[in-house]
Amino acid sequence: MHPSGALYWPSQFSLLVADLHFEKGSSYHKTGQFLPPYDTHQTLEKLETVIKYFKPRRIFFLGDTFHDMSAWKRMPDVNKSRLLNAVENLEAVWIEGNHDQGGVPDRFKSLEKIEVDGITLRHIMQRSFLGPEISAHFHPVGVIKFGGMRVRRPCFIKSDQKFVMPSFGVLTGGLDFSNEAFEEFHKCETQLFLLGRRKIFRSSERYLKNKKVGRR
């Protein structure tokens, strides 16, 4: 797990990233909300950095790579080629999300899900699925309360069979782990891994829920 929100899988020489939401900023322009058009650029920068750092052979995009169907079309050419260059020498696997179903550029095929070494990768967690599964979609965020203070950070969620990735895009919001969407994690042994500035911090679900934890 990397503080950028990427996940590296050493035995597979694979890097996993999720919810990049390219061109989210510009998607608001047609409604008259001129969000800064730099988010794609910055997310790409992050992507280039982690690829350089882990030097994977394969990269999995776990869905919602593009914010909407026309995001690829909107993307400035310079960013298009940056993305293509970044994944040029590795095998890129594009799993589709709810935002970009069918919106992945033609030259890549997008999959609904894929099984790798017995683990299923897909965009949205499937409750009825009992096997090991890595998904994304929810942009999970953990909140730690400590002596009256709160720290809110994107996080990985891990339970016995399920693993949920944080969003990798820079302009993406987050959903608190206490939300109903994560209900099933509230009932079982779950660990959260919060993204710090330079490292990952671990916190168990029990600790997060127990709000009256003070200092010693």
């Binding site: 900023g25 409604t31 909300q33 001129f34 800064p36 058009p37 988010d39 309360k145 919001g173």
Partner: protein, 775 residues
Amino acid sequence: MHASSGKDVLVLAPTGAGKTLSGFLPSFLDIHDRGSNGCLHTLYISPLKALTVDVHRNITKPIEAINLPISFETRTGDTPAGRRKRQKSKPPDFLMTTPESLALLLSYEDAETYFSRLRFIIIDELHTFFDNKRGDLLSLNLERITSLSPTAVRIGLSATINNPQRALDWITRDRGSLVEVSEAVRPEIEILEASSRIPWSGHSAKHVIKNIYENISRAGMSIIFVNTRAQAEFVFQELWQVNDKHRRIALHHGSLERELRRKVEASMAAGRLDCVVATSSLDLGLDWAEIDLVIQIGAPKGVSRLIQRVGRSNHRIDQPSRAMLVPTNRFEYLECLAAKLEIESGNLDGANFRVGGLDVLAQHLLGTACSGNFQADLLYAEIIKATPYSKLERDEFDAVIDFVSNGGYALKTYPQYSRLIETTPGTYALRDVKIARQYRMNIGTIVESPMLKVKLRNRMLGNIEENFILNLAQGDTFLFGGMVLKFDRLHDATVLVSKTSDNEAQIPSYAGGRLPLTTNLASAVRLLIGDKKNWKGLPGQIQEWLNMQDDRSHLPDNKRLITEAFEFKSRFYFVVYTFSGRNANQTLGFLLLRRMRRAGLKPMGFSISDYALAVWSLKPVENAEKLLDPSIMIDEFEEWLEETPLLKRLFRDAAIISGLVERRHPGKVKTGRQVLFSSDLIYDVLRRYEPDHILLKAVRRDAMEGLIDASRLAATLANFQDNIIFRNLDYISPMAVPLVMQISKESTVWSELTDDILAHNEEEIICAARVQSLH
């Protein structure tokens, strides 16, 4: 009168002098002489919806008495759609409205005809507009009206302030005149004598609830003012617990559903209530002649504010208003007494005037474009006539136009989506009428903290701060709408609650947004403490407390800056008694964390009050002068400003006001959280790629005053630079107790510390896990 001769006028009068009605007189005379012209004749603007309703009620009598054949109506966000539509096609002679509704009216394409024959503009409670963005917006719209109807006369009505000339400049065009009505009698103010011990800290007033109840029982109609919504809930609840005489007590605050508030207001007017517990939602000029006691619970925070509240009682000019102050802790006792002395000697707070916000200007430019094409040159000339914008540079104005058009980024992306298009050089038009619809849904400069609806079975009770709810666990109980409620769950931005039989809530709700102590009152408190001769009015227990402080450490006064260091419960504390108000103290807290960290003192957090701040660290402070050297306002300040989450909060407001992020979009509901989070991210992206963006500039400027209050802090540090007293104590000092008690409840973390906290948290878990595995 001046106004009848076509001159603008400012009327300064103490509350209760009947100034609202006097404002209408020239207008009555004019319409009486000339008759109605079938157009809007007089516009009345007040800061509060409730006030427009109240004034509407109050002018009915004189209008009927002199048998004026005119129509007069209110128009606010609460006005039903049908009436709004009619008001647009067939305007009443008199329209009573708020700045937001005025901006809305001015954004329609027919604004020019609508306002063309306007004769009078009356602005009530003018003093509430000088130092905020609402005032910026109002001043811009007044200039707009003047352009549409150059002969319309402005009449400003304000409470008494000590710098009237600046207020006159603000409201009147040239040749305006000032009318000052002096107060006939000073109010009678007493401080409640507590029969029990006055607490060190907290704001509950629990210790004197019985005394308060006795006082309202003896009085006829009374209002109890408190400083926060949470406090209103608490006091209301406590009063009902002791209400054995079955007094009719109601609650009024801004988070309650509109219907509930209206019901309370109507009951008050009809005399069906004995007492109302209220926040500033009832602060301003509502005229109920029958109120004979005002109780202020908690610190008054400013002399003028207190006078305003006290003025709610007994609206007869020849009799004094009666008020009772109820301090809830020891520092507040000092503040109450100082305020009482200031009022008795006639010292008022000065009004603060601000430089107009660029975010407000952006909103105004879009609104102007909604009503029709504009020429940049003419509009610029109009805008710099508004006092808050008189120093606006042309290039800034142009940058704001660019921002409104397409975000104002160096990187231009989708010109086809621009909101404004330049039809001919210097003339701008709205690209699409849909944008006008969006604009009208997002007018206003008041950005609420993210709120969630509270729902009890099928009934909506009102709104509550999201931050408060996020800190609750299922089953926790809290006070709201005068009831103890149990938190069940959060569903679609609605807080689902159920009733409980508990009398007491577990979680005392706690809300920010409190006003800082004014400079004038702060200095009065210092004077009071610094000289024992002034202690006569203080109860024995407070004198004892001050004497203890004098023995063990040092008393704050007007000439020196007192600081203390001590160890308490294995933490080291450094306390600075700045008396600079909570905002400036908070800023100093952040800066000290930074400087102390650099000095290797391992600071961990701080807590603040209006009077002082306490930083706690793992190593002791040994040199206060070095830490408080004014250079902190340059070195640490610049760094901190780049990173502070406070700036993010301001940015969120500016992003919403300027229209970068919408509050509401046709057909879509956006919850507060979504806005908050995405605006934080936008801020980060913008700072990185366009640090000189106009919106960042706007935010930095806002930050200097208000929330960060840098100017006040800088003044404090510079004034006391060579007069710092540092006491190294063996034990906690009496005056530091309230702050240290507060630390666990509401201390503030430095954003950079968050990783330290995460790490600490992880260590604790690891420890816990080890202990478990040993068993």
